[in-house]
Amino acid sequence: MDIAQLHYMANQIARNLAANGDESAIAATAQHITDFWEPRMKAGLFASDRAALDPIARAAVERLAPSLPPDQGRQC
C-alpha cells in the first residue's frame, strides 16, 4: 500500500481527535485503526517509518504494534 497515503490517513484521524486531549486522542486513534483498517493497511502502517507520523498517530501506532519487526509488515 502507498505508505504516504496511510500516513496521511492516520495523521488525519489523529488531528480530528486531538481536541480530546492527548491521552484520549491516542486511545481513540488506536481504536479507530483497529476497527476500520484492513490488515494489509495496518501492516503497512506498522512497518513504516513511524518517525514520519505526527505525535498522536505515532503514539497510537506504538500502542498497537509496540514490537513489530519491520519485515513482518510486508504488504499483504
Binding site: M1, E38, C76
Partner: protein, 964 residues
C-alpha cells in the same frame, strides 16, 4: 382484477378525538368531527357527484354538483364544504337534487367536445362518470354557442399534454400545483365563462413556465385536458401493481398501471406512507430507460479490456467468471477479491452480494456506494445516538416549528419530501407554520420560493460546516439556551460538560469564526437562538454535510446540537439525513460496509460473527475489509485483483477519475453487473446484464427507515429467450458457479434469512409487508409494528443506561484542499431535480429536455473578472485534472464559489475532484475542490481521448459461435 382508479373520498382526512354520528340516506355513519358530509358519504359507501373536489386538495366548492339536502337546513348546501354535525340527517339523492345537478352538468357539457368514443380518457373520465351519475340525456342549450372548443393543445412537456378545449375550469390542477407540489406554476385566468388555465405568464407553455413536471395536476385533472401522452399512445391500463420508486431516498410508492407487460403510467399511491399520493418527475415519468436501446440484454465477456466484447450465454459467462475468481483466490488469497453493492439494488440483492463476498470469496472486502455519500451518517449517528439512521418519519415535519436544512437541496434532490416541508413552511401563523434556517454555500430554491422564505440563510464558505455548527453551539451554551433537563435525563453529563466547555471557548464564537466561515455573526446568533427557542426543532441534512473531510464530525456536531436543545425523541424534531439514492439506508443496513455485518454489528464481534458462521456454515474473517478507495490503492500494488460491482458506476461517481481508472486497469477480473455498459464497464472483463426495478421483487428502505416492497410487473429483459434473471438470481448463479450451492427460490426467502440474522429486522417478511404496506425498522419484539420515531424513551445507545446520548467534541480542522493563487475558487457539486446520480437512467429518458448538460454556476463578479459570460465554454481545472463545460452566471453562488452537477459522463466533473476524504470513513470530499476557471473553446484532450477510448472499449464482436 380489472383496472380501477384509487377511490377518492372527496375531501382530506381529518383527525379529531370527537366522533360525530349522522344519517346519510338512512345509513348511520360515525366520523371524526370536522369531516365533510361528502367524505362521510363516501366512507359509508355512498357517492355524491362531484367535479371540483378531490381528497388530496382543500375543499373548494365551485362546481355545485355535490349539493345535498339536510333536514332543518335551508337550501341545498355543497356537501364538500359542509361539515358533519351530530344527529344531522342528509339526503344525497332526491328529485330536486337530481334536477339541479342535471342543470349543472348541462352547462359543462355544452362547452365540452362530445368525442367521448375517441377520447383518450374514455372510460377513465370523471366528467363522463358524473354525466352518467346525474342521468344526463340531453343538453338544452345546444352545442352551437360560444365555446372553448378548438383551442390549440400545448404538447411542450415530453410526458403530458394540455388540451384546453376539454377543460371544465374546476381548478383542481391549479390547487394541486399550489397545495400538493408547492410550485405555483399554474393560474386560472379570467372569470366565469372566460376562465382558462395557463402555465406561467401569458404566452408561456408548460416547458417555459416554472412547472417542474411533477404530474400532480395531471393526476388531479378529472378530464382528458391534462393527460399522460403514454395513455394516448398505449390506451387505458387494465391492471395495477403497487411498487416503489427506484430513484431517490424518499421512496415514493406507486401504482404501476399496466397494459399487458407494458407500463402505461405510474400513479403515486395514496396509501403510500412516504409520499401520500405525490411524486416527482423522475418516479412518475422517467421509467422509459427500461426499454432503452442501450440496455444490454445478454451476458458478455472478454479476455482483456482492449478486446471487443463477446456476447455469450449465462452459463459461459458464469463459468468464465467463476474460473477467474477461483484462480485469483488460489494464487493470491481471499483478500485479493472483493465486491461493491449498490444502493440502487434491493435489500435482498445487496445482502446476497455481501454474503457472496464474505462467505464465498472469503474476504470482508465489500463496500457500497454509500461510502461516497452517507458513510459519515453511519459513523456519526452510531457514535452519538447508537443507530446509523435518521430519527424521524417524514410525517414528523408537520409538527416542526423550526426546520434547519444544512447541506441539502430538498427541492431538487428529495422533491416529494420538499413539497411536504414547504407545505409546513407555508402554513400561516394561525396554523403555526414552521420557520426555516438554511445553511448552504448556495442560495438553494428553498431560501426564497413562492410563499416560502427562509428566516436565515447562512451562506457559509464550503468546508466550514463544523465551524458554523460549533459557533451555533457556542451561542446556545453561552446564552443558556440548552435544555438541561433533557441532557441530564438522557445524556452522559460528564461528556456534555466537556463538550460545553469546549464550545464555550471564545475562539468558537461566531464573531471570531466569521473570518473562516464568512457567515455574518449576527445572523448566526439569530439562527442559533431561533433554533434553540423556537419550539420543535428538526434538522435535515444531505451530502453537503457528509461529503467533506470532516463529514463525520459534522454529523456528530448536528447530533450534539439536537441533544443540547432537547430535540430528539418525539414528533417534529430529530436528526434526519436525506439519503441520495433510493436504498442507501438499506444498503448500509444490509452489512455492505467492510467492517460490519447486517444491523451494524462489527465484524470483530465474536457473538455476531458466530451467528452468521452457524447459519452460513463457513468461517468468517474477523478483520475489517478494504473500503472502495483502499481497494483501488491495493489494486495498484498488486494485492487486490478481482472486483464484482453490482449496479454501480464507480468510475463516474467516485472522486479522482484517473485514480479509479488506474486501479481498475490493474485488476485481472472486473465484473460489472448493470443495465447499461456504464463507464466502469470500460475496464471490465465480464458484463452481467441487470434487471430494472420493474422486473424484480424485493424491498427498498427509504430515508425514514421504511421498508417497502418492490414488485415485479414484467419479465426481466436480461436474458436471451426468456432466460432473464432478477439481479439476486444472477448473484446466486455466480455463487453456485463457484460451488456454493445456494437455493433461494424467491427473494422472500432471502428476507427471511436477513430477519433471522438481524435483530432490527426480526419481524420483517414479505408477507408482513404485503399486509402492513410498509414497516419502519426496528421491527422486533419491543416494536412489533415498527418504529416511526426513534429514541423515544432514551437513546438506543447504551440501552441499559438511560443516559446513552453521547456528546462528542468536534474540532474544526480545515481541509487540506486550499485555495491559492493558481486555484483561487472553491468548487462544490450537487444534483438537480430531473437527473439522478450519474444519470445512467435519467439520461436515457426524455428528462434530458431539462438538463442536457452539466453547467458551471459562477458569481457575476468572478465571471466579469475573467471576462466570461453566460453560456461560454470554460476550462475547469484543479490540481487533479481538468474538464470543460459551459458557464451559467448567477448570484445563487457567492463570489469565490463555483458549483456544478455530475450527471453527464461527457463533463466528468470527477476528473477534477480530489482524493481528500472524511477522516473517519473516507467518504470523498466532493464538496470542496480548489479550482481555476478560464476561457476555453471546447472539450479538453482528456474528454476527447476518453470518448474515443470509451467507444472502443464498448465494441461488441459478432458472436463467433452462435451456438453459445
Amino acid at each position: 382484477m380489472g383496472y380501477e382508479r384509487q377511490p377518492d373520498f372527496g375531501t382530506p382526512e381529518v383527525s379529531s378525538a370527537t366522533t360525530v354520528t349522522l344519517a346519510i340516506d338512512g345509513r348511520e355513519v360515525s366520523v371524526p368531527l370536522g369531516t365533510t358530509v361528502m367524505r362521510a358519504a363516501a366512507l359509508s359507501g355512498g357517492s355524491i357527484p362531484k367535479l371540483c373536489a378531490s381528497d388530496n386538495l382543500a375543499q373548494f366548492g365551485s362546481c355545485r354538483l355535490c349539493l345535498v339536502e339536510v333536514d332543518g337546513m335551508r337550501g341545498t348546501p355543497a356537501s364538500c364544504t359542509t361539515p358533519v354535525a351530530e344527529g344531522m340527517v342528509v339526503h344525497t339523492q332526491t328529485p330536486r337534487l337530481q334536477k339541479l345537478r342535471k342543470g349543472v352538468m348541462e352547462l359543462y357539457i355544452s362547452d365540452h367536445p362530445l368525442d367521448c368514443l375517441t377520447c383518450s380518457a374514455n372510460n377513465d373520465c370523471e366528467l363522463q362518470d358524473q354525466a352518467a351519475a346525474v342521468g344526463l340525456r340531453d343538453v338544452r342549450y345546444g352545442y352551437s354557442g360560444e365555446s372553448h372548443l378548438g383551442l390549440a393543445a400545448d404538447t411542450s412537456n415530453p410526458y403530458f399534454d394540455f388540451d384546453p378545449s376539454k377543460c371544465i375550469a374546476c381548478s383542481r390542477c391549479v390547487r394541486a400545483c399550489d397545495e400538493v407540489q408547492g410550485t405555483f406554476a399554474l393560474t386560472m385566468d379570467g372569470r366565469g365563462f372566460a376562465s382558462q388555465i395557463s402555465a406561467g405568464q401569458a404566452g408561456d407553455d408548460f416547458m417555459a413556465s416554472d412547472c417542474v413536471s411533477c404530474g400532480a395536476c395531471v393526476q388531479a385533472c378529472p378530464t382528458a385536458t391534462l393527460q399522460e401522452k403514454a395513455v394516448k399512445e398505449i390506451g387505458r391500463p387494465e391492471r395495477s401493481v403497487i411498487t416503489t420508486c427506484a430513484y431517490c431516498g424518499v421512496g415514493c410508492t406507486f401504482r404501476a398501471e399496466m397494459r399487458g407487460e407494458q407500463v402505461v403510467r405510474m400513479v403515486p399511491w395514496k396509501d403510500g406512507k412516504a409520499n401520500h399520493g405525490h411524486s416527482c418527475v423522475k418516479g412518475r415519468f422517467a421509467w422509459g430507460y427500461a426499454n432503452h436501446q442501450d440496455r444490454i440484454r445478454s451476458p458478455m465477456i472478454r479476455e482483456t479490456i482492449d478486446q471487443p466484447w463477446r456476447e455469450v450465454s449465462w452459463d459461459v459467462a458464469l463459468t468464465f467468471t467463476a474460473d477467474r475468481l477461483t484462480a485469483i483466490k488460489t494464487q493470491y488469497g481471499a483478500r485479493a477479491l472483493g465486491g461493491i453493492t449498490s444502493s440502487r439494488c434491493t435489500n435482498e440483492e445487496t445482502f446476497l452480494v455481501q454474503k457472496l463476498v464474505r462467505a464465498g470469496f472469503g474476504s470482508n472486502n465489500v463496500d457500497t456506494c454509500a461510502r461516497v455519500c452517507h458513510s459519515p451518517t453511519g459513523y456519526g449517528l452510531k457514535t452519538t445516538f447508537g443507530t446509523s439512521a435518521g430519527t424521524q418519519d417524514f410525517d414528523s415535519v408537520d409538527h416542526s416549528d423550526v426546520i434547519l436544512v444544512i447541506g441539502a437541496n430538498p427541492t431538487d434532490a428529495h422533491p416529494v419530501f420538499a413539497s411536504r416541508m414547504k407545505r409546513r413552511l407555508r402554513a400561516d401563523a394561525k396554523n403555526g407554520g414552521a420557520k426555516l434556517i438554511v445553511i448552504d454555500p448556495r442560495r438553494i430554491d428553498l431560501v426564497l420560493s413562492p410563499h416560502v422564505e427562509a428566516a436565515y440563510h447562512l451562506p457559509l464558505q464550503p468546508g466550514t460546516n463544523v465551524a458554523v455548527l460549533t459557533a451555533m453551539a457556542h451561542v446556545i451554551v453561552t446564552e443558556g439556551l440548552t435544555d438541561e433537563a433533557f441532557i441530564r435525563d438522557r445524556c452522559d453529563w460528564d461528556e456534555y460538560q466537556d463538550w460545553a466547555r469546549f464550545v464555550s471557548d471564545d475562539r468558537h464564537s461566531p464573531e471570531i469564526l466569521e473570518a473562516v466561515t464568512r457567515v455574518s455573526a449576527s445572523d448566526l446568533r439569530g439562527a442559533a437562538r431561533l433554533f434553540a427557542t423556537g419550539g420543535n426543532g428538526a434538522i435535515y441534512y444531505g451530502l453537503g454535510v457528509t461529503e467533506h473531510s470532516q463529514g463525520s464530525s459534522t454529523v456528530m456536531a448536528i447530533a450534539n446540537l439536537a441533544m443540547a436543545t432537547g430535540n430528539v425523541g418525539r414528533p417534529g424534531v430529530g436528526v434526519n439525513p436525506l439519503r441520495g439514492q433510493n436504498n442507501v439506508q438499506g444498503a448500509c443496513d444490509m452489512g455492505s460496509f467492510p467492517h460490519e455485518l447486517s444491523g451494524y454489528r462489527h465484524i470483530s464481534d465474536d457473538s455476531a460473527r458466530a451467528l452468521f458462521e452457524a447459519d452460513w456454515q463457513v468461517a468468517l474473517d474477523p478483520e475489517p475489509g478494504l473500503r472502495i478507495p483502499n481497494m483501488l490503492d491495493a489494486a495498484l500494488d498488486g494485492s487486490f485483483r478481482a472486483l464484482y460491482v453490482q449496479g454501480e458506476d464507480i468510475l463516474q461517481s467516485d472522486p479522482n477519475t484517473h485514480h479509479v481508472a488506474a486501479g481498475l486497469k490493474a485488476m485481472e477480473c472486473v465484473i460489472v453487473h448493470d443495465l447499461f455498459l456504464n463507464e466502469t464497464a470500460d475496464y471490465a472483463h465480464v458484463f452481467l446484464p441487470g434487471s430494472t426495478f420493474l422486473e424484480k421483487t424485493g424491498t427498498f428502505t427509504n430515508a425514514e427507515r421504511r421498508i417497502q416492497m418492490v414488485r415485479k410487473v414484467m419479465e426481466p429483459a436480461n436474458g436471451p429467450d426468456g432466460g432473464g434473471m432478477e439481479d439476486w438470481q444472477v448473484t446466486q448463479a455466480l455463487a453456485n458457479a463457484m460451488g456454493l450451492d445456494w437455493n433461494y427460490a424467491n427473494s422472500g426467502e432471502i428476507m427471511d434469512e436477513i430477519a433471522r440474522l438481524t435483530p432490527s429486522f426480526a419481524g420483517v417478511s414479505h408477507a408482513r409487508l404485503d399486509q402492513a404496506g410498509s414497516l419502519q425498522w426496528p421491527v422486533d419484539a419491543a416494536h412489533p409494528d415498527g418504529s416511526p420515531i426513534m429514541h423515544v424513551d432514551g437513546f438506543v445507545r447504551g440501552p441499559n443506561d438511560k443516559r446513552g446520548g453521547k456528546f462528542v467534541v468536534t474540532d474544526y480542522v480545515p481541509t487540506d484542499e486550499k485555495t491559492g493563487p493558481r486555484y483561487p475558487l472553491l468548487l462544490t457539486t450537487g444534483r438537480i431535480l430531473s437527473q439522478y446520480n450519474v444519470g445512467a437512467q435519467t439520461r436515457r429518458t426524455q428528462n434530458t429536455v431539462w438538463h442536457g448538460e452539466d453547467l458551471l454556476e459562477m458569481h457575476p463578479t468572478d465571471a466579469e473578472n475573467r471576462g466570461l459570460g453566460d453560456g461560454d465554454w470554460v476550462r475547469l481545472a484543479s490540481r487533479t485534472g481538468e474538464t470543460t463545460l459551459r458557464l451559467a452566471v448567477t448570484d445563487r453562488v457567492a463570489a469565490g464559489v463555483v458549483y456544478t452537477t455530475f450527471h453527464h459522463p461527457a463533463t466528468q466533473a470527477n476528473v477534477v475532484t480530489t482524493e481528500f476524504s472524511d477522516w473517519a470513513t473516507n467518504c470523498p470530499e466532493y464538496k470542496v475542490t480548489a479550482v481555476q476557471i478560464t476561457a476555453s473553446n471546447g472539450p479538453t484532450q482528456w474528454q476527447e481521448s476518453y470518448a474515443s477510448w470509451s467507444a472502443k472499449s464498448r465494441r461488441t464482436a459478432v458472436p463467433a459461435d452462435p451456438a453459445e
